[in-house]
Amino acid sequence: MPKLLARRHRWALLAGIGALTITLAVARSSSASDHQDTPEVELSQRMDINDVYAFPGSSADRIALVLTTSSPITPAQSAAAGFDPNLLYQLKVDNTGDGVEDKVFQITFTGTGSSQQVTVRGPVAPAQTGPMNTIVPNAPTLTGTTNTTVGSAAGIQAFAGIRDDPFFLDLEQFFRIVPDRKPVSGELSQLPDQPSATAFRPANQAVDYLRGLNTLAIVLELPSAMLTDGGTRKIGIWGTISR
């Protein structure tokens, strides 16, 4: 599947329209900057974070965190799809307002395919802040099998596995508006090379390009106090993938 569909690339939508604006306003410029991911991540779908979410959990004092990766995964590909056992997936939380992580979740996997074991550590203070990290020395918080819910509904719960990709947008129409952003392979690459639209489709014609496609999701839920502990109740959350 075209790498352009990965979420980070989907935001090329906006960038591309921006580029179109410039094209219309200034002159045709083939050097409009491209807003996709780095080549390494672009070529390594498993290193790509598609989306990060944070929202209230099953009760007012609980919070759910979601990190999705490796989208798009077709139904046919899904049975064999798994997380990369050589990568470290993290959700990081700043609770003091300085942009430095005070609490981290570290998620790792062993095995491959659909029968992986997931290990969740945290939330705990990291051994090091910033972009170079080791696994914290703490014992795992949870371990279990992918594609099942592990943990306690009153404490920390985790799920890692295949889910319907929760993101939605009309990517095909985007590439009709800005065809220079279309992928080099797959069905979207067959769209016209020249712009064939100047606006999005009306609601009764717009199509969610990600309908029926899957992603690998890490979902955590826990008492919010575990993240605000030692800090304030205003927190900042981000996801990382490291190798």
């Binding site: 979420r7 980070r8 989907r10 935001w11 090329a12 939508l13 960038a15 329209i17 921006g18 604006t21 410039i22 900057s33 991911d37 780095t38 390494e40 991540v41 974070i49 990060v52 979410y53 944070a54 929202f55 209230p56 959990g57 099953s58 979601v66 700043d94 300085d98 942009g99 430095v100 972009p131 170079m132 990290n133 696994i135 819910t149 799920f159 596995g161 889910r163 319907d164 929760p166 939605f168 009309d170 508006i177 999005f200 609601a203 969610d208 309908r211 029926g212 496609l213 899957n214 999701a217 979902v219 839920e221 919010s224 927190i235 900042g236 959350i237 981000w238 996801g239 490291s242 190798r243």
Partner: protein, 181 residues
């Protein structure tokens, strides 16, 4: 003298610490051993910052970075995108830079759950975060091209993609995302 030798030895250890670990037979350079040093290759907070506002050549810089240096490293480029590429005024640019950098999903856990949603912490002093149902494409389009932040220089045909919800309903209970297709 002795102290100086010890100090030099300590410095040398610090300098080659990673390499020393690699010589450890217990180290697992492809597994998840505790002495393995992982290097960040990907980072994502808000669904907008790197992908839209930063040139592709700077994505690696953003991916390898940290929120604490985002304002210093990325604010000027983000604001230049909004004013230059999108053609909006400085107020829109400054507002977007302020709410999107440092690049984190901000959550005010003491606010009502009903006020949750992308950027509601800034727009309405709400819970913030990002819900599965949030149409962040439209929110981004409306902010950058629509009248959300300024009535000037809007592009109406580009302010929504008219896909407003996921193809499958989300669950109200854990793990919330719909089952795979």
């Amino acid at each position: 003298m002795h102290m100086r030798i010890r100090a030099l030895a300590a410095l040398a250890l610090i300098a080659v610490g990673g390499a020393c670990n690699d010589d450890d037979n217990d180290n697992d350079i492809t597994g998840t051993g505790g002495d393995r040093i992982y290097v960040q290759v990907e980072r994502l907070g808000n669904p907008l910052v790197s992908e839209v506002t930063l040139a592709k050549r700077n994505h690696g810089f953003h991916n390898a970075g940290r929120p604490s240096t985002d304002v210093a490293n990325h604010s000027a480029e983000l604001r230049a995108f909004v004013t230059g590429v999108a053609g909006r005024d400085q107020t829109v640019a400054n507002t977007l830079a302020t709410v999107l950098l440092p690049d984190m999903l901000i959550v005010q856990t003491d606010k009502p759950a009903t006020s949750a949603g992308w950027l509601t912490w800034a727009l309405a002093n709400g819970y913030g975060g990002r819900k599965l149902t949030d149409d962040v494409v439209d929110a981004g389009l409306q902010a950058i091209f629509g009248p959300l932040l300024s009535p000037n220089n809007v592009s109406p045909g580009l302010s929504t993609d008219n896909v407003d919800q996921n193809d499958r309903p989300f669950s109200t209970s854990f793990p919330y995302l719909a089952a795979g297709n």
